[in-house]
Symmetry: C2
Subunit: 231 residues, 2 copies
């Protein structure tokens, strides 16, 4: 009924696929296993034969989300090999899509918010996933030659997480609408303080500690227009 042309014969995949969709639409606590099983074209019993509990199903869904995100990272690397800054900008664009999209933000973060009980089996997995995301982003920043790579990675992490939840709390026209402009401006601000790419133009006040990077001026790929073009 809901999917013509014969669903793939494996019920397990249909269940997690449907569950991901419904969890996303209605929230984990907002949908029952019965509805999930029915919309997956199967029934509650087989669901419980594959997943011992609803919580197990939840972590199975999150595990698949993590797999997809990992594939997305690999896509960045494949699309811009040996160009970490381009990968960073691709990350920003991808984050903007994620912050827009259906407007339900990040499944991981949503689950963390919804499953407030600190002993929920999903919480550990979420925390570890988010930590890995941050590390991967920091590694990319470091490869891009950015001085304060860890700080930039944290900043971008917060911006993306914020954009995805702000999409839900403040709406599409809220601050999340300017995510790309903001992200690229921040990248440019940090990038201009890196080990001098291209010519350094001039050296004011004979260096000194020179801890404070200048903003923008020119980043390698399209980051230069960050603050100028926005708004």
């Amino acid at each position: 009924m809901e999917d013509c042309a014969a669903a793939p014969p494996k019920p397990r995949e249909r269940i997690v696929s449907t569950a991901r969709d419904l969890f996303r639409k209605h929230g984990i606590r907002g949908i029952g296993v019965d509805a999930i099983a029915e919309l997956a074209g199967t029934n509650k019993m087989t669901l419980y034969r594959h997943f011992g509990s609803k919580d197990d199903l939840v972590v199975a869904c999150l595990r698949e989300v993590a797999r997809e995100v990992e594939a997305m990272w690999d896509g960045f690397d494949a699309a811009h090999p040996d160009d970490p800054l381009a990968q960073l900008h691709a990350w920003v664009r991808c984050g903007a899509e994620c912050a827009g999209g259906d407007g339900r933000g990040c499944d991981m973060a949503n689950a963390a918010v919804e499953l407030a009980e600190s002993d929920h089996p999903a919480r550990g997995f979420i925390e570890q996933f988010k930590s890995a995301q941050r590390d991967r982003l920091a590694r990319l920043c470091r490869k891009a030659g950015i001085a304060k790579a860890d700080l930039l990675a944290d900043a971008l992490s917060l911006l993306l997480e914020g954009a995805r939840v702000s999409r839900q709390s403040a709406g599409v026209e809220g601050p999340c609408a300017r995510f790309i402009a903001i992200g690229e401006a921040v990248i440019a601000a940090f990038a201009s303080g890196a080990k001098g790419r291209k010519q350094p133009r001039y050296r004011r006040r004979a260096a000194g500690p020179a801890k404070v990077p200048r903003l923008a001026a020119r980043a390698s790929s399209r980051g230069g227009a960050a603050l100028k073009g926005a708004r």
Copy 2:
């Protein structure tokens, strides 16, 4: 039992106070009205006499949250009259406290995430509140003489929202731990592009469009050490 020395005689206030606490701890869908009434030292019946439904209670709680946040803004204004930049830094510090704290982030955003149904009565109120927050922040940035005030307001909004949800998804040691450093660095990056406060030092390249602000260099109050001290 739970609160010795005579609770204030009004049950209504006790109910919303208890409800706010329990909603925060367990999530809106994670706690029942019966438990709320009992912990408020009253019973479900009087709860339903004051609030026609659980949803009504939810928006009443959020309304009180909004009142408190409004008072916090007034506090910034009272503590630093006619010093918008200092108010901005106070906002950052306050945001860091909020992102830390009990680790449950923003009640409004949590409610928006949890109440996925788009027709929930709380959603409109949340969106309007978040919009007002953004506007107030933008007004402050504008008063501080920042050029791209709206963009900075959006950036800070995303950072705070992100810090509060990242606290829940990535943990205390995650990116939210560097919220102050990041926020002040971003403020400094935007502030240095403002209408020259103090002496402009020197004028490079005879102005021009001068659309790209320099980072930090010196912001009025303690913003200068933003990127230097971090990490």
